[in-house]
Structure formats: C-alpha cells, structure tokens
Symmetry: C2
Subunit: 325 residues, 2 copies
C-alpha cells in the first residue's frame, strides 16, 4: 500500500499534515507514505522512518486560487501527488488543500470511471447511530436526476466497503417525506431510485439526518455542502453556548468540571475528523479530500479511509457495476 | 386588532392552540381572538373572556391531505379563518395545521401582492447574535434568481418591522463564500443582489448560519427547509446525547444538576417557539404558519408576530415597494 500525501495543502499545513502522516506510518509499517511538498518543507519532516519518503514539488495551489491556475501549475503538490496515482507509483492520494484543485487534478489525471456522469464527494457523517455515508458534499451544485441515482449506487458500494453494510438503506434528502415533495430534480430522482435495484427507503427530511436511520443519504452538492457546514457551525455554536453558560458562576463551574468527560465524549462522537477524509467517488483512482482545517488526527484517519478504498477495491467494483451489460 | 386562530390545526390541536390563544388574549385585552373550530371542540374552550369568540367550521384539512382537497373543503377551519381576513373580519390568520393548505388558502383567498412572483415562508432563526430573518423556508423548492431578489426585498421590510433593523444586512446562502460559488440560480441571484439597492454582504456558507452575522438570509425553499429542519434535528440529537452522557454515573448526575439552569437557558436560546410563527410574506394579508408541533407558548408568540405584521403594516409597505414607479 503506497499513499501519496500532499503535505502542503490545508490551513495547518505542513506541520499537522506531516504529523498525521508520521503517526499512521508508525502504526502501519507495511504502508508507504509518499510526502509531496516544497523542498523548503523538507527540514520539517525530521527523522524519517523507512516507510516514509519525500517527493519534492515546485509550487502549491492556494486555497482560494482559481482552479484554472492548476493547468499552469503542473509542478504543484496536488498535481504531482495525483500523478503518482495515475502513474501507478501510489494507490491513493490524500490532501487537505483546495478542494477544487484536488477534484480537477483527479478528473484530469485519473479520469472518470466509464459510465459515471459526475464524481461526488462522499463523507461519513457522525449520527446518533454511528457514521453514515452522505453524498454529494459539494462537487456538483447542479445535478440531474440520473446523477442522484448514480450517487446512490456509488454510495452503496462505498457503504458496503467502509461500513460493512450488506444491503445499505438509501434515502433521498428532501423538504418533505412524501414522494411528491422536493424540487423538480429530487421528485424525478425519487422515481428513479424507487424503480432501481437499490434498497430505497424514500425521502428524508433535514430533521432525520442526525438520527441516522439510514446507511446512504443522497443529495445534490449544493444542499449537501450547506447541510454539512450548517451542522459543523451549529455544533461549534452549541459548544460556545455551553462554555458561556457553564462558566457563569462558581456552582456551574463546579458542575461543568463534573460533566467534563461527558462533554468531551459528545464532542468526539460528533467530530468529523474521527471519520476521516471524504473520497471523490467516481474517478479512476482513490483521491481523499480532507477538511481544510484538518489536524494530524484527521489526516491519519483520511489515510486509513484511503487504505480501505484501496483494499476494498472501490474503483474496480464501481467500474464493474457501471459497465455490466 | 382581530386575529383569526385556527384551533383545529397542529399535532397538539385543539388543546394547546386554545391555551395559547387564551394566554395571549389575557395579556392583550385590546386584541380580539376569533377561534375557528369544529363545534365538537367548543366545550374545550371553557369560560371565554370578552375578547375571544368562537367561529364554527364544518371540517378540518388533515396534515397529510393533498392540498387539492382544500377546494372541496371550503368549510374547513383554515379556509374559514383565512376568509375572515379576506372579508375584513380579522386582520391576520394563525394556524399550526397543514402548511400546504394554509398557503393555498392564502394565495387563493388573499392573492399575491401585485409585482411579487411568489410568496415565501419566513422565520426568525435563533442565532448566537439573536433572532435573524431567513426565507424561503419551503414554499418554493424551485426558484428563479429574480425570486431570490424579491425574497431579499421582502425580508428586509420584515426585518425592519419585526426586528427594528434600519438597513438590514442581506446574505445569500451558498456552498462557498466567493461570488462564483453556488448552483446556477444562486450565482445569478448573487449578481442581481449585488446590483440592487440592498445592503448585500455576499454569500454565506452553512457554517455561518448559527453565528448570525447578518440580518436577512436568503435561500430557495428546498435548501431553507432542509437547513431549518437539520438544525432542529441536530439540537434535539445534541440534547439527547447530553442526557445520555450526563446520567452515566453519580458524579455526572451531580454535575448535571449544577449546570441544569445553564442547559435550560441554552435550550431556550435555541428554541424556535420563542420566536413564534412564520409569516407567508407576499400575500395580500397576514397569514402566520406555525410549526406542526406548536405548544401553547409558540401559538402565543405567533399571534404576537401576526400583530407586529399588522401594526407595522407589512402588507402595505410591501405593496408600495413593489409598485413604486
């Protein structure tokens, strides 16, 4: 297992990315981590174990840089890391850099799996019933009904591989439970899903997302991105309210100290980092997108997700599914 | 001030609706509440003060009943309550019944304000910086860019009236902060908003919603409905996690007792019921939509919202704005 890690991408790069890569390399001695970075970052790597090597790049795609710039930055860390996968030097690429640049590099270098209209960003969402697969998280702000069906099909293969679910229960995000509810695309997608081979359980409303009574949640990239970030924002708002209320007087401060472990557990149970990075499903290779503010632990988990996709042969299974007679 | 209250609509109807209506009638002796309900519900009203009267209806629109049924139920509570507004017998209608039926009754009986393409459901969302105006919450799953501009314009008039904000800061919900981010409709709407007379502050991501760094948040009814319900679901999931973690052992139970008031405050600060019902803005009259599970307190607040809309002359101001030369 060889995994290319873009150590230049992300708000906490390169320090936290390197730390995450080293942590996983120490735990999994049979995996090789190829750290792609600017020569200036090399000294930060420190002493490297045998299963980590450094691959120099010439530039970095900025977080807010237009994706088009990628075509003039074929020496950038994300381009080179993805090219390692294309050339068979690595089996997966992991990055916390610009999502747009990473998607473009994956689509341009690895290409789409034959038969798939659009790749989709896929997360494992923390819910009251554990991690659940949700896609698309932002690759496709505008979709067609057929694309939502394909997202569901890819999500099912993914849930099968990474969550070990036999016949994943698929739901479609909408503004009402009834099949007639939704925007035009969603109503049409409902019909396609209901007529498909999938274990389709109908529409789900926003209220049902955190409950997690499903295995695969399908939506367009606009709604998916907004929902994910809303949950992130609300979690953080809630914890700042807890902090404020619990430090208001000595009694509450004492109480807060006693429930402290419980609060920490909740934070952990809701933490996206625990569930690692988000693969771009539908491209001919494994490309794992990490949150821009990923700390070492999130990177470590993302590398594990990459390894699961490789071991589970996600790409091969997808290609076979979408190209069956 | 005369307000028609549909006492038959909602999961907790008629008991909680009646209780809410009686509570507000007691606090505001100069307001008159017209309680519209089935004769069978009349005994539940008990002793009525002088400012409450009972208006009998012949049927009730079911929560899941197709909206089309309304045309054959012109004796239903929501139809009659809305007709009281049309006939000038009341100045506003409040209901926690079927949203679809209430919208249809409002559009058919009151009609749209001239110049407005589509009415929008508008909530006051609890955020870290107090209640903020958000629309559309579900009336329009599919929108055109021009409609989002009109939602913003109506939202600004509403924020001015109910929140007292002089020059409301408008933001557009999208999957990225940059103006190029969004689905096709959102990108086009961004251009319209930027070129408008509004105090437009650009796109906002889901993460920014609970922070509340805006006065009016505009989105299509599909995304808006999903976001609102996701927040509702996550709040409730978080409180069930808190309950679980805080009751795990005696130490934590003790701590929980000490922070109890703080938790209650947070619940209150996040409670939609505190902010009352959601007006359907853009119709020729005041129609306030309440959450299906509204308890008495939510109804009480919704009647207050109705009164603010009437006192602030929302309909008149909107008509003048959209019909200025």
């Amino acid at each position: 297992m060889r995994i290319a890690l873009d150590i230049m991408g992300g708000d906490l790069a390169p320090k936290e990315i390197i730390a995450g890569g080293k942590a996983i390399a120490a735990k999994e001695p049979s995996w090789e981590i190829l750290m792609v970075g600017l020569p200036a970052a090399k000294p930060l790597l420190g002493e490297l174990p045998a299963n980590i090597s450094f691959v120099p790049c010439g530039s970095v795609m900025g977080m807010d840089e237009p994706v088009e710039a990628l075509l003039h930055k074929k020496d950038s860390s994300i381009w080179l890391a993805t090219k390692l996968v294309k050339d068979g030097e690595a089996q997966a690429v992991v990055s916390a850099g610009s999502t747009g640049a990473q998607m473009s590099a994956a689509i341009l270098l690895l290409g789409r799996v034959k038969g798939i209209a659009r790749p989709a960003i896929t997360v494992v969402l923390p819910t009251l019933q554990g991690g659940k697969v949700m896609l698309d998280m932002g690759a496709n702000p505008d979709v067609k009904p057929e694309m939502l069906l394909q997202f569901a099909q890819m999500g099912v293969i993914y849930a099968n591989i990474v969550r070990g679910v036999e016949s994943p229960r698929v739901v479609l995000l909408s503004n009402g439970a009834e099949e007639c509810k939704g925007n035009e695309v969603t109503v049409a997608a409902h019909k396609l899903l209901a007529a498909s081979e999938l274990n389709f359980a109908g529409n789900i409303e926003g209220r049902g997302i955190p409950k997690g009574d499903y295995d695969v949640l399908v939506c367009d990239g606009f709604a998916g991105n907004i929902v994910l970030k809303t949950m992130e924002g609300l979690n953080s708002a809630l914890f700042s309210l807890l902090k404020e209320e619990f430090s208001r007087n000595l009694l509450r401060k004492t109480g807060a100290a006693l429930v402290w472990r419980g609060l920490k557990n909740i934070k952990l149970r809701l933490d996206y980092a625990e569930h690692g990075g988000a693969p771009l499903l539908g491209v001919n290779g494994v490309s794992i997108i990490c949150h821009g503010s990923s700390p070492a632990r999130a990177i470590e988990n993302a590398v594990k997700v990459a390894a699961s996709c490789v071991k589970g042969d996600f790409v091969g299974k997808t290609a076979r599914f979408f190209n069956k007679t």
